[in-house]
Subunit: 335 residues, 5 copies
Amino acid sequence: MHTGKSYTLPQFIFWTRRSIYVLVVLALVPVALHEFLGLKWLIVPWGVVFLLGTTVALSAGFKNLQTYNRMQDAQQVWSSIVSASRTWGILCRDLVPDREGAREFAWRHLAWLAALRHRMRRVMPWETANRAANAEYMRGRAVPEREASLESELGRYLSPDELAQVLTAGNPALQVLALQSRQAQSLLAQGALAAGAFADLTGRLREFQELQGRCERIKHFPYPRQHAFINSLFVGILCVLLPFGIVGEFERLNALADGWTRGYMIWFSVPLSLLITWMYTSLDRVGESTENPFEGSANDVPITQMSRDIEADLRQILGESSLPPAPRAANDIAL
Amino acid sequence: MHTGKSYTLPQFIFWTRRSIYVLVVLALVPVALHEFLGLKWLIVPWGVVFLLGTTVALSAGFKNLQTYNRMQDAQQVWSSIVSASRTWGILCRDLVPDREGAREFAWRHLAWLAALRHRMRRVMPWETANRAANAEYMRGRAVPEREASLESELGRYLSPDELAQVLTAGNPALQVLALQSRQAQSLLAQGALAAGAFADLTGRLREFQELQGRCERIKHFPYPRQHAFINSLFVGILCVLLPFGIVGEFERLNALADGWTRGYMIWFSVPLSLLITWMYTSLDRVGESTENPFEGSANDVPITQMSRDIEADLRQILGESSLPPAPRAANDIAL
Amino acid sequence: MHTGKSYTLPQFIFWTRRSIYVLVVLALVPVALHEFLGLKWLIVPWGVVFLLGTTVALSAGFKNLQTYNRMQDAQQVWSSIVSASRTWGILCRDLVPDREGAREFAWRHLAWLAALRHRMRRVMPWETANRAANAEYMRGRAVPEREASLESELGRYLSPDELAQVLTAGNPALQVLALQSRQAQSLLAQGALAAGAFADLTGRLREFQELQGRCERIKHFPYPRQHAFINSLFVGILCVLLPFGIVGEFERLNALADGWTRGYMIWFSVPLSLLITWMYTSLDRVGESTENPFEGSANDVPITQMSRDIEADLRQILGESSLPPAPRAANDIAL
Amino acid sequence: MHTGKSYTLPQFIFWTRRSIYVLVVLALVPVALHEFLGLKWLIVPWGVVFLLGTTVALSAGFKNLQTYNRMQDAQQVWSSIVSASRTWGILCRDLVPDREGAREFAWRHLAWLAALRHRMRRVMPWETANRAANAEYMRGRAVPEREASLESELGRYLSPDELAQVLTAGNPALQVLALQSRQAQSLLAQGALAAGAFADLTGRLREFQELQGRCERIKHFPYPRQHAFINSLFVGILCVLLPFGIVGEFERLNALADGWTRGYMIWFSVPLSLLITWMYTSLDRVGESTENPFEGSANDVPITQMSRDIEADLRQILGESSLPPAPRAANDIAL
Amino acid sequence: MHTGKSYTLPQFIFWTRRSIYVLVVLALVPVALHEFLGLKWLIVPWGVVFLLGTTVALSAGFKNLQTYNRMQDAQQVWSSIVSASRTWGILCRDLVPDREGAREFAWRHLAWLAALRHRMRRVMPWETANRAANAEYMRGRAVPEREASLESELGRYLSPDELAQVLTAGNPALQVLALQSRQAQSLLAQGALAAGAFADLTGRLREFQELQGRCERIKHFPYPRQHAFINSLFVGILCVLLPFGIVGEFERLNALADGWTRGYMIWFSVPLSLLITWMYTSLDRVGESTENPFEGSANDVPITQMSRDIEADLRQILGESSLPPAPRAANDIAL
């Protein structure tokens, strides 16, 4: 997540520079055809371009609304995870009579968070974080889940025995929740947990299960590929046709021009074509970069930092020494 | 569900090629009337086409928003089914004292999933998966629920006695839930289940009932036919009128043309008409292909694969040997 | 609800034919004024028509979004009624020790459904099902709640004593729920119902109360009349002005025309005006026909059929002989 | 709430006539400048007007969507109040052993409704019900909460002692709920209420608290003034500029005109300007009139009538004689 | 929150005057280039400007919808905090047997509110309340949380011992909730609280945890910076290009002009360019000023005043003397 004031124009231009190279070529094509091959008639009527443009604007608007909602959804789930984790910490402290038992429940919860995070930050085929432009922007900001192995992270929170069980499971996060439930059950059976406390704890575990399910839904169901494709297709077609339309408009302006510009007006279409097509591709790119909130990009939900904050909160609740302060949001990007 | 990077342009053109044939004809009609019958006056003023075009773009935008929401809804329901099923597995393991009894509850739950899936993948009159274009695209990717009979699938999970009861019921999935409830009740009566555990289990069963109801709503209530119809109608009218509008615009361009193109400019309207009308029909088709998330098409919610994943999760929880790995997402399509 | 593949164009034209008559006249008016009265100057600049047209398209789009949501809302409520009714059936069977008592609870629930349905299918002043066009389309498909009296329907489910109480109440459905609650209370007092079972049953009754409230909200609060009015007003104004605009555009085309068409181009404006105005009125009509999901029209939520399905489900659960199969969805319309 | 078929055009014109006076003047200004001062050049290019018009249409569309949602929200809250009140009545009758005690609980609930209604119908600075046009339309339809004092209404339901406590409280409705809670508590302490019944009743009271909070939110948070302002500003600017644009278009039509109209075409711009600007102001007014659902206007949620219906329902449940029938929805307006 | 009738035009112009200065310059640039440097050909075809304008209008519309939803979300959370706080007060009074204990629970709740408020009113990098225009508007209206220290506010509600614990915690509000939970737990252990009462209280504490989480989500996740940036970028580009487009349109009007205006028409483009670009920047500014509902600006959710109202409600419930009346909404701005 970008946590600064705003992106800056240079950053943005740098980020989109690969598109700009292509768009410059597209803007030059019709001018070249007009000037060098003399194909004066090769224009697209502006009315057609305009119709296309409004259609693309509308469809990009709806797309950005939908990807924004995906992002919002992801933020809500993780915000609920934060609240539920704090409640979990307080419940453990107050309901589990044995102090060490409470600590175990809390630590295992941190293991769940770590397993969930690693699951969220896997690479899916439709994610775009590895595209040249995005990867370049994130250079020097490593995705922590791809730096540290799950094993080393879980090792901080789980006993070796449990660690082995979790690592061999197909779905480690689910396995951690299953361990929590079993532990609660066995404390209940031993009489170390009151029935009400047991109900409270398992109710929370059910909630974590649902929150994990919601995370997985966002991660595993991409923004429908058919919607994504048709939007990019529309933008692409617009970028090809628009310069032919603008060239036509500038041919007309020749009448107004005099002096050295007469007859050369058409060259002024290049920067304008470039600007407009760049705006539409940028709009599409912004939507695309919001599609996958867990891909490890600059627009992610900062789940690593949130997990760290949860750990700090749980330590505060349990009265433990707090974490060493972590470097936060390097260059305004929190992951 | 398409799980790859994106659709490709050739795939998309192949998928829509039947529309393209029709659109080529529609694009040629006005040119033919102008050139061969000399009906130079037979054009539609561009202003009219433009008004129509923005209206169609808007109404297609809203339609795609609504069908997207249907898809989202279906994803949410099945994502909740996954979470609730895992919780069910953990509850069975921890609350049902008898290990065999726990296994029975879990297996019967898989029977519910199978019955629900078969219900979801029935063919409804308004579904479009069997249209030539869609069926062709899915060739070689059989819908598993139409390959294996419900009886054989349920036979893996139910005792012969229960199987008979379920198969004769009007609504097999409901019957499975009724069997689960009866079993819980009889364990409670035998004292084999604590009151709290019973409440927990029946609470989950109520949740499954609701989730089944939400699935059935999406399956049984189509996207309102009057909305679907008017959208297709609008797109159709636009595809007929637009070429007459573009022809008019190109007639004007004759003034700019010289050399061999003079007088033939109008022929250049054909590819442009085709491109624009193809874009609008594709937009409509994309919306339509998102309408029915359980029809067995390339854009379905992959309920077969999700059920398989649930089975693997339940086996992991119950400590059983896991399933043989299934072929997943052949050619990027998960069902 | 229309349960077929789609509406057909002839059906749609037939349904809207009364509008078409009016629109033909509106399309002829400007031509007549131009040709017979020579008022060549009486046109509306196309720019004005276009502005109006996009405004109408936008406002119709938003209206259709809102009425679609009303429809969705109604579908969700009734889908929840189906799920909750099945759960109710299973609860009655499993929690009420006395088999006859269970049957009574279930039958009384069917009485609630019948009373609610009759309430939903009453005629409200703002409903449009009785308009000539709609009534004609539904000819031969009687609304069952207007055929059979509430008394005869309730008589199938209630004892004569209860029937009398329910029929004299201002709100029969509410009275049925009050009877259910009283019965549960008296079983609890007699010790025939466990405390947990009582809580479960009354929890469900509370849910039915809420579902009834949500139904009544949709039924009793129309789509705001001020919004409905302004939309129809806009469409009406557009239908009057648009032909004057198209006439103006066709006057310009006279320059392109030669031979017999020269000077008569303006007559070609009539079909085009008609087509475009028909599209806008149809868009408005489609929105309007989705406004009231319980009015007994072709676009209703099929609550009669759903109630029948619930009855079949309850019979299956209670092990009773099932209903004789009902004629379903005559001519693709389910009510 | 308007409960009739629809608003009629004369009603609507009468309601907006003050705007019409202003708009006539605005439509005449450019004509006068052209004709009497000869400022032929003083026009606004139509392209500019068009851009402005689509922007205003879009922003008015979004505003109406948002105010519609406020209205929906208010309807949902009050619909929930109806359902919860009926459930409250049934709970009181069945759970409170003493018949008089049950009646007291129900009557106090009606006092809560009355206090809440009076709170909702207070006048807020941003409400528009007192504007000349709105006040005029509502003449003869007094807002009941402004006719009868809260004291007299509460006096029907509360003992003098409680009445005094409630009237001196800052938030009477909250005080009534606090009294209900205290009464439930004291019955529990006396053993006159079972623990389960107590939990049920206080659960309902919590729900009423939340419903009151939701009502207060809608009442106390206006539609954001910055959004409301910018919309009205845009509409105002459009109404000033549009006639200058239409005048320009009609100047061009002079070429088409002959006979007596030649040179006078510009006068025909007046009715057209008026019509279009009137449509935009009406759209804005409709949105504005939906903003505040409790202000006592013709578009309110009819909370007085709903409260009366709740009283009738509670009397039916408690077996009391029903209310004398109230005059309902005078002139199709329910309050 | 602005609680008055509306913003006034002078207020609005004053607020946006810094933009106006820039826009005047932008509007003068093309005129100067035309008139003084003779670059008559330097215009942007109006079609291009129009396409850009509709795109900007659409994207600003969607942005304002999204920021409006953020604001709504914040209002809903705080409205829920009000309801839940009142319920908390009633619960404390009725469930905690010891009057002093009840008062302590309520006072600690006020401490939670204070801590939460201070957290909400911290300054984030992306907030715009400190921009010159906004800060100027708010001059004389200090944000209370930046005037009084958290320590002095908490000191009113907490014992010195608890105060120390809360102030040293990383998240004071969370620490207060942890203290509440511990206190409830210890009362339960002492037998001073019934099990049901304990469950009720801890259920409420869980709810406060969730509400705090929702507040923090809105505060800590800005409106996505990439969306905010691209919107402002689009508006900026439009403001640069639009004057070049309007200049082109006015050059054409020279033909209509005569007398002294002939040849000077172009100067009339300046006010029009200014007006239109001002409208678009204002639309963007209104959206921006709604983005961050807790930044201490004129469009904030008035959390200080709401907290004060909660304190008054709690005092009323507990029967304490009420607060001295506070100055409310100075100059129509409530904070």
